[in-house]
């Protein structure tokens, strides 16, 4: 608290001795330089993503087919939910800048309201991202991985993806879930895929209307290639496992690196949002107890505001590179 800080150290350690280069305070300037370095970190990650994407440009997963969920509604809705998340974040940026604006006019109550709205917006965003991750990890259709790591998916006559369960045979499975109570007590195992490879193979043989789709993109039509039955059987002969959902080793959408970059970059951004919320909450309580009213200015609100806007700024790019392009 202001009163507890010794007069001599105040204005030296944390304000750069009162120097104001470019008419900016020490704290604000350092926040800007932190933001610059963080911007370069994010561009390093997004640049690496771009490199890998161009490397696999002929087989990269198509975002529209991956992110298709809306809460409480079944069906295929690409983009809508992530657009909603973008709006939430832009709107929380607006309430943040309104809080800064109110702070310039020393209107404590307005700052409190706007900070609270900003924090709520941030929480909704992080929650949405968690939900997005849950869908991504859980998967939707399931796929089969081949010996060389390629992923093949299954489509109906119209070329729409179908779930493995919808055509797999109900041949008895030789494999049951390993648990501590029925197996080795010191061994645990992730959830087994809903069907076995054998069931997929038998089901595929029985259903002539089901076709196989490879990762290869036809660069003319920008659609994944659907192969003939004869080809498909050759592919299936090389199958090693059924894949449902996504993790860091394998995912049903295609290239492993796709999920790796998705987890890493959206996770890193989500962690920034989370830290932003925590910092906002700290400043929010400082505003409530009147710290800045007594200090005579609301520059702290401005500084956390800069960080919060930066998080929004990064999301604008993540949104473009993961969902639009």
């Amino acid at each position: 608290m202001e009163a507890t800080i010794a007069e001599s150290s105040k204005g030296k350690t944390w304000s750069g001795g009162g120097n104001r280069p470019f008419d900016a305070s020490y704290g604000k300037m350092m926040m800007w330089f932190f933001i610059m370095s963080d911007a370069l970190t994010f561009s390093g990650f997004l640049g690496a993503y771009g490199l890998i994407r161009f490397k696999f440009i002929d087989s990269w997963p198509i975002a529209d087919e991956v992110f298709t969920h809306i809460p409480f509604i079944h069906g295929n809705f690409p983009m809508y939910y992530v657009a909603f998340m973008t709006f939430i974040l832009i709107f929380s940026s607006v309430t943040m800048v309104l809080a800064v604006d109110a702070g310039k006019h020393m209107k404590q109550n307005k700052v409190i309201v706007y900070m609270l709205l900003t924090i709520i917006g941030g929480l909704i965003f992080v929650g949405s991202q968690a939900w997005e991750w849950k869908n991504f990890i859980g998967g939707q259709y399931g796929a089969v991985q081949l010996t060389d790591g390629k992923i093949v998916q299954f489509v109906d006559a119209e070329g729409h993806q179908v779930t493995l369960e919808s055509f797999a045979s109900d041949a008895p499975s030789e494999r049951i879930q390993q648990t501590r109570s029925n197996g080795l007590w010191f061994v645990s195992e992730g959830a087994l895929p809903p069907v076995t490879l054998q069931q997929v193979k038998e089901g595929f043989a029985k259903h002539p209307e089901i076709a196989m789709r490879t990762e290869l993109i036809n660069l003319e039509t920008k659609k994944k290639t659907i192969v003939s039955r004869e080809e498909a059987n050759k592919f299936l002969a090389h199958a090693t496992q059924v894949v449902k959902g996504a993790n860091l080793k394998v995912n049903e959408y295609g290239a492993t690196l796709f999920a790796d970059f998705f987890f890493f970059i959206t996770g890193f951004h989500g962690f920034h949002v989370f830290s932003g919320i925590v910092i906002n909450i700290i400043i929010f309580f400082n505003v409530i107890i009147g710290t800045y009213q007594r200090r005579g200015h609301y520059e702290m609100v401005e500084k956390v505001g800069l960080y919060w806007h930066f998080v929004d700024l990064v999301w604008v790019f993540v949104f473009t590179f993961f969902y639009l392009i």
Binding site: Y80, V97, D101, K234, T320
Partner: protein, 117 residues
């Protein structure tokens, strides 16, 4: 304080918000529709549609940095000290990484089998 503005920026803030929202809606609309005459084209390494997305993204970034992070109220050289290094370094990094990615694809394509015998 650096910016002792007597007047409030509220009206401007809402205008910028409206602008950013419209840009986002346009992006999402194009992203869902993916009109063929933009999507199935090729221009400087990618489709026209992707160039539109990229430019709209930079416009949004400008709006956020200039108005929300109020760079426009800062002294000219503070603004330049922040913007120029970032713009230069990121363009540099992006150009070489993406170019290298394309080169890797050119090599990889020769060695990737999409059929089995």
């Amino acid at each position: 304080m650096a910016n002792d503005h007597a007047h409030s920026h509220t009206a401007l803030i809402w205008k910028v918000f409206a602008f950013l929202s419209v840009v986002t809606i346009v992006e999402v609309f194009l992203g869902i529709k993916k009109p063929d005459f933009l999507y199935l084209t090729h221009f400087l390494g990618t489709s026209f549609l992707n160039w539109i997305f990229l430019i709209l993204t930079l416009v949004k970034a400008y709006g956020i940095a200039w108005y929300f992070m109020h760079l426009r109220d800062e002294k000219t050289w503070l603004r330049r000290a922040i913007v120029w290094p970032v713009v230069f370094l990121i363009s540099y990094l992006a150009f070489f990484l993406l170019y290298e990615g394309g080169a890797l694809q050119d090599i990889l394509r020769e060695w990737t089998r999409w059929s089995y015998n």
